[in-house]
């Protein structure tokens, strides 16, 4: 239930500007890959190009390839909707559907894909909420509005919603930046558990977080405002934080830059 992602000379941008250019990166299945780098280096844009959500923005451009186990997700016959069913995503701010209950939020992906049978939905919701570590907290109020949950619970609900459709890959765009330290810890525990089943890519501003949860770290940077971001180096998290090969990486993780 996990696929390898490989990007080949991937460049993405908006209109005439390029946000991130020429990224070739391999993301291994059943591991956590952290993407770190200063603001504006295009790491979020890169992440959003992996499930073709980037193109939902008017004027978005993509060049190069994103291979999901050797299939190019940007091939002309590929429907972006199919890609997004395989590659789930969790966002910076918790964004549960406000008009739906806790149960309906988790069931939404399946329901909208045509699953109607109550037992199937119940099973999937139960499993997703357990996997997201939220089951115990919400078991007695599955029909309450999603907005009655705290911020950290809402984010775990969003993770449950994303994994309920059993994607192959889970993308996380700074999933803890709007949360307090305790909720952050809960999400980080969750990421560590989820990597047994999923390919996880997490964008984070928090280097301690990258060091704590990831196996592989990719460092992106940008040379100046208005310029395109680029991938500087990638390696095992241990190597990147202990002995980075590039000066730019060392400057960033030691706090001399960015």
């Amino acid at each position: 239930m996990a696929l390898r992602i490989e990007t080949v000379n991937l460049s993405c941008g908006y209109g005439a500007t390029t946000a991130v250019s020429d990224v070739s990166l391999t993301i291994e299945p059943k591991s956590v890959t952290a993407i770190i780098g200063p603001s504006g280096c295009g790491k979020s844009t890169f992440l959003r190009s992996l499930n073709r959500l980037h193109e939902a923005v008017p004027g978005a451009t993509v060049h190069g390839q994103v291979l999901l186990d050797d299939d190019d997700v940007y091939a002309p016959q590929v429907d972006p909707v199919e890609v997004r069913r395989l590659v789930g995503m969790v966002f910076q701010k918790p964004n549960p559907f406000p008009t739906m209950s806790i149960y309906d939020n988790v069931a939404s992906g399946l329901r909208l894909a045509g699953v109607r049978r109550r037992e199937v939905l119940d099973d999937a919701v139960n499993r997703a909420l357990r996997d997201a570590g939220l089951w115990g907290e919400v078991v007695n109020r599955l029909s309450s509005p999603a907005h009655s949950l705290s911020g950290g619970q809402q984010q775990r609900l969003c993770i449950a919603r994303a994994i309920a459709v059993q994607p192959q890959v889970l993308l996380m765009d700074e999933p803890c930046s709007a949360l307090d330290p305790i909720s952050t810890l809960a999400i980080e525990d969750l990421i560590t558990r989820l990597k047994d089943d999923y390919t996880i890519v997490i964008v984070t501003h928090n280097m301690q977080q990258a060091a704590r949860v990831s196996d592989i770290t990719a460092f992106f940077t940008v040379d100046g405002p208005g310029m395109a971001g680029r991938l500087v180096e990638t390696g095992s998290t241990e190597q990147i934080f202990r002995a980075p090969a590039q000066r730019r990486t060392e400057d960033y993780i030691t706090g001399r830059f960015g």
Partner: protein, 263 residues
């Protein structure tokens, strides 16, 4: 200054209530003008209430889906080049005088297509007047729906239309309903287009598809035009009934806004 600004409102309300209240009775609300000679004091607005309810409901049934479709087109589709001209057209529509709308439906539908006067002809005129109001308010409400919700739905693998239908529209439901009710309240008092499309009727005509029909504003207009006191009294009572109807719709809109505000 505030009080000065409110004088016209209270004067109007007070005037209508003092003139109309004594004539507004249960019997007035439950009887039509059938068989009431001009000089006779009886009669009521039952037939006009039925007409107004039918005409306005039908207008809303036509205007809401059409207006929502345009609003969704303006906000949710990536065809940036077309949204400018469409929005301009909607703005122009807002400014069209209601008598012109009535004339248009009169010459196009009533005469041109030989449909004759009927409730539905009036509904078409009212729909044209409602449309820009519905479109603009729904557009504003759809824009208030956070982009992050659309992204959440798209990232779950929902197609665009499904995202709009199952996530964006429900999130904007409260605001859209309020806008629709305000548009209804706004066209309920329209008189000029109804004179040219529905006409008037002293009898109860429950069929909006055929024949002339009464309505509250046209009832008020007709009774006011009479030289007899009993008719003028009926006009004031009818005006009060019309105001009451509009106030109820406004209040519903306010209540819905409060309980359903976008969160």
């Amino acid at each position: 200054m505030l009080l000065v600004a409110l004088i016209p409102l209270f004067a109007l309300l007070g005037f209508t209530i003092t003139r109309g209240a004594h004539r507004l009775s249960p019997s007035f609300l439950t009887h039509s003008m059938a068989g009431i000679p001009p000089l006779s004091p009886g009669g009521g607005v039952y037939h006009a209430i039925i007409g107004t309810l039918e005409q306005v409901t039908l207008a809303a049934v036509l205007a809401v889906p059409l207006g929502l479709l345009v609003a969704v087109f303006l906000v949710e589709t990536p065809l940036r080049g077309l949204t400018g001209p469409v929005r301009l057209l909607v703005d122009v529509m807002t400014g069209i005088p209601s008598i012109v709308t009535g004339l248009f439906v009169f010459s196009f539908w009533v005469v041109g297509l030989h449909r004759g006067f009927s409730g539905v002809a009036g509904s078409i005129a009212l729909m044209i007047l409602m449309l820009p109001v519905v479109i603009r308010s729904a557009e504003e409400m759809l824009r208030l729906v956070p982009q992050s919700l659309r992204e959440a739905a798209l990232a779950l693998g929902l197609p665009r239309w499904r995202t709009t239908w199952s996530v964006v529209l429900p999130a904007a439901r409260g605001g859209i309903t309020t806008g629709v009710l305000l548009a209804i309240a706004r066209v309920t008092g329209e008189t000029a287009p109804l004179l040219l499309t529905v006409g008037n009727n002293a009898f109860i005509n429950t069929n909006p598809l055929h024949g002339q029909q009464a309505s509250l504003p046209v009832f008020v207009f007709n009774q006011t035009g009479s030289a007899f006191d009993v008719a003028v009294q009926r006009a004031w009572a009818g005006a009060l009934a019309l105001i009451a109807f509009v106030v109820v719709v406004y209040m519903t809109a306010r209540l819905l806004t409060r309980s359903n505000a976008p969160r």
